[in-house]
């Protein structure tokens, strides 16, 4: 154990390609998410331009369908998901007092699979057009008779990134369950970590059905099977079931981390502990369990019969109860607190009314008679954008402002942050609030135009203006990030006077996170020590050498292999498919045969702090 391997560290680009450090992987997730946010945002703006005036001819037919499909896919799978994984990677090991995640190698593999999956979907533009069957990829529309190679790119790209997602779920579940610091019992875990447990379990059970649903489409398209070919006995409703068995939990996979983020930020900026911690834990778990059992509410108009619709309608409405518990605990957390309205707090506080609104329209949609009216109209679009932008994205921006010092050792400008906040809120409300009227007025979703003089002209123009205001907000954030990156000064440690373990580390966070594993003595661990007059956590072990895993290029090459294999499938080139699988297989064999002994660092020898 004592041999000191001096430096297997890589530099420059190779450092990023080979890293297994969760903090660097976090930055890569966040950066990739940010790039796709801009791309997906441009798709949205182009759609809103087309819809600004009636009978517009800017993007018609297939062009619009491609923008629409790609906007949904990019925003759900390549923006919201990686940004959440970015925060998981950056924060969870620090919140549980661990030096690393449970499987650093798998973590890197998960990222690169996601990266190449996203790339595969997005380069479809250059190979005969993007997918155009909607983000739900419904059969039979997604079969080869109706849509082009774009769908193949989409199906295979999502398989790759989906595999990466399952790896993340397993990794963080194991990290949280197995690698907590001494004294950090399950009921002392910060809420962000708690929601991550539930989300990891949801990923385990929600993503495999998606894998199979995509496989069925893939087999029908490429091998000519008959899963959805009604003439040969197939049944497209199977696809809808499998997709929504994944699709509904996916909503909670995205929104529960957002709830966790709120439960971290609101106490810090109210200078009060989280109200009703146990209720929050129970509510989170209940939402997770119910979230797995309500998928049919997306299929009320399929015609599964009144009994099925009633059961799933009632089950869906029941989710409002634990969600309500959460909303009230947040309000009671702020109640009589010493509230500081930082940008982070503004965003977090804005989520409460916006998400309540989204929840109420959600219950309206959960009732089958109502759903028959709203189905496939802009009411649904308004509803889920309130969930995603008002709830999830606003929380993620709040998290970015809050955790930026830990991730980048810089602080984002607070004044600019407030400008960005107001542009975001006003733009968001203008864009999507009015869509709740568009729907009942008769505007169907996914259609590229509408007739003038039917009461839709003005509200569509308002919606388009709102979309541009939101993009101003995104632009402000981007400029703020660039400014902080180049001109920002290193932050002092614990800039927010925060409560949880991740803030007890002196910034910048060293590669081994904790020189000594801390002993956790209370729920808000760092706050407890601060109140007890300690500046730092009490260590649970003496200083000593720390074992670190070696960097590896294998995850990158393995993902490239699967990427190449996917190309072979799409263009029916068997040799290329086999070559791709061979590359991945060789990487697996190397990984199995070559033992990774890692290397040791000695915190005594390294200068701590800056």
């Amino acid at each position: 154990m004592s041999e000191h391997v001096p430096s297997i560290k890589k530099h420059g680009l190779m450092d990023w390609l080979t890293t297994v450090d969760h903090k660097k992987i976090a930055i890569m997730y966040l950066a990739t998410g940010a790039i796709y946010l801009v791309i997906g945002g441009i798709f949205a703006l182009l759609m809103r331009l087309q819809l600004a005036v009636p009978n517009n001819t800017l993007f018609v037919g297939s062009d619009f369908n491609q923008l629409l499909t790609m906007h949904g896919i990019v925003m759900i799978f390549f923006v919201a998901t990686p940004v959440i994984f970015g925060f998981w990677n950056a924060i969870i090991p620090l919140q549980v007092g661990a030096r690393d995640v449970a499987y650093p190698f798998l973590n890197a593999l998960g990222f690169w699979l996601f990266f190449f999956g996203a790339l595969l979907v997005n380069i479809s533009w250059f190979f005969g057009g993007a997918p155009e069957g909607g983000w739900t990829i419904y059969a039979p529309l997604a079969l080869s008779q109706y849509t082009g190679t774009g769908t193949d790119f989409l199906v295979l790209g999502l398989q790759l990134s989906g595999a990466g997602t399952i790896m993340n779920g397993i990794n963080f579940l194991a990290t949280i369950i197995n690698m907590r610091a001494p004294g950090l019992s399950m009921l002392r875990l910060p809420m962000f970590t708690w929601t991550s447990i539930v989300v990891s379990v949801l990923i385990l059970f929600a993503f495999p059905p998606l894998t199979i649903a995509l496989f069925l489409i893939f087999f029908d398209r490429i091998f000519g099977t008959n899963f959805f070919n009604v003439a040969a006995g197939g049944d497209p409703v199977i696809y809808e079931h499998l997709f929504w068995i994944f699709g509904h939990p996916e909503v909670y996979i995205l929104v529960l981390p957002a709830f966790g983020i709120l439960s971290e930020i609101l106490p810090v900026f109210s200078r009060k502990p989280l109200f009703g911690y146990h209720g929050m834990v129970i509510a989170t778990s209940t939402i997770g369990l119910l979230g797995m059992m309500v998928w049919v509410h997306h299929m009320f108009t399929v015609g599964l019969g009144p009994i099925a619709n009633s059961i799933f309608g009632i089950a869906t409405s029941a989710i409002a109860v634990p969600t309500g518990i959460k909303v009230f605990t947040w309000i009671f957390t702020m109640w009589r607190g010493k509230i500081r309205f930082t940008t982070s707090m503004l965003y977090a506080a804005s989520v409460i009314p916006n998400f309540v609104f989204a929840g109420v329209t959600g219950v309206m949609l959960a009732l089958p008679p109502g759903d028959f009216q709203f189905h496939d109209t802009y009411f649904v679009v308004g509803h889920f954008h309130y969930v995603i932008l008002g709830g999830i994205v606003a929380s993620l921006i709040a998290a970015a402002y809050y955790w930026w010092p830990i991730i980048f050792n810089r602080q984002l400008n607070e004044k600019v942050g407030k400008i960005n906040f107001w542009f975001y809120q006003i733009g968001f409300a203008l864009t999507f609030l009015v869509q709740h009227w568009m729907g009942p007025l008769g505007m169907p979703r996914r259609v590229f135009t509408y007739e003038g003089g039917r009461g839709l002209d003005t509200i569509n123009m308002i919606s388009t203006i709102g979309a541009f205001l939101m993009s101003v907000s995104v632009l402000v954030i981007v400029l703020s990030i660039v400014h902080a990156w180049f001109k920002g000064k290193p932050t002092q440690s614990d800039p927010w006077d925060a409560r949880t373990l991740e803030w007890s580390i002196k910034l910048p966070v060293p590669e081994y996170n904790f020189a000594q594993t801390p002993r956790v003595r209370a729920r808000d661990a760092f706050w407890y020590e601060k109140m007890a007059g300690n500046k730092e956590m009490v260590p649970a072990e003496p200083l000593g050498e720390i074992h670190m895993p070696s960097p590896s290029i294998l995850p990158f090459i393995m993902s490239v292999g699967f990427f190449i294999a996917s190309f072979g499938f799409i263009f029916h080139l068997l040799p290329i498919t086999l070559a791709g699988f061979a590359i991945a297989g060789v990487c697996m064999v190397i990984r199995s045969f070559k033992d990774d002994h890692g290397y040791h660092v000695n915190p005594n020898e390294l200068s701590e702090g800056v």
Binding site: M1, R99, D100, A102, Y103, L106, I166, G169, I170, N171, L173, A174, I177, N178, M179, S200, L204, F205, F207, P208, P209, T211, I212, A213, F215, L216, F219, D220, F223, G224, T225, N226, F227, N229, A232, G233, G234, D235, I238, H241, L242, I245, I546, H547, V589, S592, F593, D595, G598
Partner: protein
């Protein structure tokens, strides 16, 4: 991180859980198997929904030969037992015994796979293919996915057995043998439901 408990390295008992890495691997593998259960459930669900859609082709009742399925089942069951015996040999730090029990497991698994391939060829001759009907598509995807798992398990055992004589039984290799054996049990577990739902229920219609 690699807190190796010296005593356990010497005795070899439960060596797979002697290090944090080993414990993490076993925990994560259970999570993976839980996900795999739902993956197979999705395939079962598809199969159950489509199993009577034969499109004029042969039905399950006409195709299925119960004796052959029974033999295949016993083969896989026995291989599951021998992989347990291999892990017991590992706990006794008996490398040779472990390798030979894993060898027996592989032989049984390979025979099972051969039988399955033979069965598929028979069915294709009788006009039951992936493209002949929705029933055919669902049948081959479900049973084929199980077969792919068997194949992967065999390759996994092979990779481990090539290394085993050189690397022996250590705190690093023990979790690997243990996981491969867990995986094999899981594949056997799925087969219980495959023969019940696909073959037995298929036989009675």
């Amino acid at each position: 991180m690699a807190q190796v408990n010296v005593d356990h390295v010497q005795t070899g008992h439960e060596l797979e859980k002697a290090t944090m890495e080993g414990k993490n691997k076993i925990f994560g593998f259970w999570a993976y198997m839980a996900a795999e259960s739902v993956l197979f459930a999705s395939l079962f669900a598809t199969f159950v929904a489509l199993r009577n859609q034969t499109n004029g082709g042969p039905t399950g009742q006409e195709l299925i030969q119960l004796p052959m399925v029974f033999v295949a089942t016993v083969l896989l069951l026995t291989s599951s037992l021998t992989s347990v015996l291999a892990i017991q040999a590992m706990h006794r730090n008996n490398l040779k015994k472990m390798i030979s029990w894993f060898g027996v497991t592989m032989a049984l698994g390979a025979t099972f796979l051969g039988l399955e391939i033979y069965e598929f060829i028979e069915y294709i001759h009788e006009g039951h293919t992936m493209r002949s009907s929705a029933f055919g598509s669902a049948f081959y995807l479900l049973v084929g996915t199980h077969g792919a798992h068997v194949t992967f398990g065999l390759l996994w055992f092979l990779a481990l057995l090539i290394q085993a004589p050189k690397k022996g039984i250590t705190a690093v290799t023990a979790p690997k043998y243990f996981l491969a054996s867990l995986y094999w049990h899981f594949v056997d577990l799925v087969w219980i439901f495959v023969f019940t739902v696909v073959y037995l229920m298929g036989k009675v219609g």
